[in-house]
Subunit: 503 residues, 2 copies
Amino acid sequence: MTILFLWFLKRFLFIIGLGIILFLFGSMFLHAEFISLTREPSHAVPIAQMLKLLPEERIKDLFTYDGIWLFPKNQCKCEATRQQESYNFQDAYGTNDLPAVKARRQAEYEHFQRREGLPRPPPLLAQPNLPFGYPVHGVEVMPLHTVPIPGLQFEGPDAHLYEVTLTASLGTLNTLADTPDSVVQGRGQKQLIISTSNRGLLNFILHHVTYTSTGYQHHRVDMVSLESESSVAKFPVTIRHPLIPKLHDPGPERKLRDLVTIATKTFLRPHKLKVLLHSIRKYYPDLTVIVADDSKQPLKINDIHVEYYTMPFGKGWFAGRNLAISQVTTKYVLWVDDDFFFVNKTKIEVLVDVLEKTELDVVGGSVLGNVFQFKLLLEQSKSGDCIHRRPGSFGPLDSFPNCVVTSGVVNFFLAHTERLQRVGFDPHLQRVAHSEFFIDGLGSLFVGSCPEVIISHQARSQAVDSELVALEKTYSIYRANTNAQVQFKLALHYFKNHLQCST
Amino acid sequence: MTILFLWFLKRFLFIIGLGIILFLFGSMFLHAEFISLTREPSHAVPIAQMLKLLPEERIKDLFTYDGIWLFPKNQCKCEATRQQESYNFQDAYGTNDLPAVKARRQAEYEHFQRREGLPRPPPLLAQPNLPFGYPVHGVEVMPLHTVPIPGLQFEGPDAHLYEVTLTASLGTLNTLADTPDSVVQGRGQKQLIISTSNRGLLNFILHHVTYTSTGYQHHRVDMVSLESESSVAKFPVTIRHPLIPKLHDPGPERKLRDLVTIATKTFLRPHKLKVLLHSIRKYYPDLTVIVADDSKQPLKINDIHVEYYTMPFGKGWFAGRNLAISQVTTKYVLWVDDDFFFVNKTKIEVLVDVLEKTELDVVGGSVLGNVFQFKLLLEQSKSGDCIHRRPGSFGPLDSFPNCVVTSGVVNFFLAHTERLQRVGFDPHLQRVAHSEFFIDGLGSLFVGSCPEVIISHQARSQAVDSELVALEKTYSIYRANTNAQVQFKLALHYFKNHLQCST
């Protein structure tokens, strides 16, 4: 029996061995065949032929808004068309002055960029198949404060010993886990090294890692790295101080007087100012009105709710606007020109409702049906940006279907005082100016327009009083948009706003 | 020979077969042994015993700065000690008024939060071992613009067919890769679906994906997801409009007059103002000086470089400060009080140098040796923040070892006009106020102090002129920090700044 058994065993093991060898070779062969079958399409069509980009005209079509191609480019352009004029701002400078102006502008621009942390570093890319969990976005810490870092974990292959290193540069690291010094080194340093053979302990330590911002600095981003063996993950920790709120108390009765201040500037038009004030009082007897006046003679205004300020003679339009808004103590400020007048449809409450319920900073109304809405589109470029102005709006405003979102409106608007003050009116602009304010506000002010709130405009009428006639004549001289002033404003756009041209 | 060969072959295959079987069993056994050996420490000590946190007192010690624990907490506290007083701001309100005030403050705070996009959503966490490459941080797009998304790649297991989906919510997706419609679906939509069996083509398409921001909105973050099978990666795309620069031209000769404007406010102290102006002219004959005056009678100032503004009588200290700075047209503004006077060491050029070369927004000097530096530390909390004021500085200023970084300084400082205007002086503060400005500036203004630049202070002297005596008496009445005013300022901190208490 034993001999028979041994004989069967030998045959059996022979067959097993043969079978295994055959299997190994066979599967390798089949696998290769399979791979080549799967990859066959790529062999069928050459790769180079498949990997092509859309033609340039197609790409130009794709990302166009209002006829402007809003895609990254080296150089932007301002092309004049039948509908659009185009201005090249550097033309406002004499050819002799221009090189020196360019150099000064570049120096000032670089100072601005340094202070703003620009240009931003290129995006941080994560490699595929990193064995780590980590926070991609949203970890923020106040200067000198500490925060726990959420989401850190290691899910790599098993190992006899795990060694994981965390490295920061603008702060120090620690962990709330209680461990022996041999397991965690570098507590309170820029580099934290975790060494343990216990995977559960490793992840517990990682789960409780903290980041402490050291050194008092404003807005910075620290790229923290997490590594083990040859795998490195990096994630951002934003060091930022929150903005202190500046809230206004509307008072127990939410009186309009405690919510809104009216602001205006006047110059050599006391008669028009009086008409305006009279019309305000017809509908709003106790709203505070702030008047900035750079006329020759100060006015006497008998109204306990009017605050009157005098300025150096002819100091200017935007200087006066900036002065007026600097004195407001309510949450909202309503801007009106001194030659407007209030009518039944001048409902400030409607504008307040819009600002209370949306994220707008400014909402304009209509001046006798004229809304003067315009959009501003910016293309950035190293040698100065290109700004494009188009009439109309970006679309309707959420929750207020009769209102729209835009970039610029008329000089009849309600604004969040704080947001308006943050942009301000540039005192350089002494005479005719309007859109410059909205350009300065680009990126800061979220602007809308509600045409149903209407204010009226005092028509130019023939003055009878001789003194008034003289005054109006002087006013017209100051009000004329002379060529010198136009050149001044173009030069201001060139230098101040780092613009190249506009359409 | 053949029989011998066959015999050897049989034996050979027998040995191979046996060997393979032995090897397979053996390695399984060894592996199991190995695993149990590696895991042995965790079996030796119970896991629960190893995973413990540091004791609370230790954690409290770890993250303390100037005696304040700067770590996230539910409720902050202001504890009075021998060195520090503590103020509870709600005590400034009558007990009957307080519930209504609290409710109004909460409503205003919620409006503020809505507009600022607060509170921020919890951090976005990346899972381990995602088979994707993607951009973790730094992808930004202007509203309505398009950007390429860098770093997208798929490195998962081989498959017969690859299907990868990208999903956005505040914008649309596309790719610059030219492909048939069967391969890429959803071009220009919120969801882009890529189906291909060619891995190279898949990664080429991903490499050229673009994101287009749709809808005009200000600062938002879109979480874009990238998925395949059961793996999902998410990454942030920030929609933000860049700030328009507001640069100042220093002119071809960089004259100090084109760089710096001096600003001051005066009230019932014309004699002191004149001493100040006279001292300025001794060292700086042509710098523009802006004077805001809320006295009863306007002054006549014979100086072509002084700009003089009048205000409603007693309108107030901070209203006047805000007015004065609203009129500045130079890059920098130097604030001085009307009872200072310039001496040899009052070197404006030194302060200009500091602001030109560092990231400070404000740099203070010394008033007759008094630098009045103080730090402000904030602890955030749902029912109002706790603010802690400590004398001194955070440390030296980079590149200027004699200067320091701090939160507040004296009323003799040079500031970036634009940054100063963005914070502003709150016109609610009519009488005595100082630190309120720096509290309003917390998080916005980066403040430093350079004690070597010194201005002098006009001592209180016995006035001889009877008119002046009367004036000074009136001034003292307005200047007294009455209890009512103190309560008013505490109430303002409670509501406006959403503060709970201070130490």
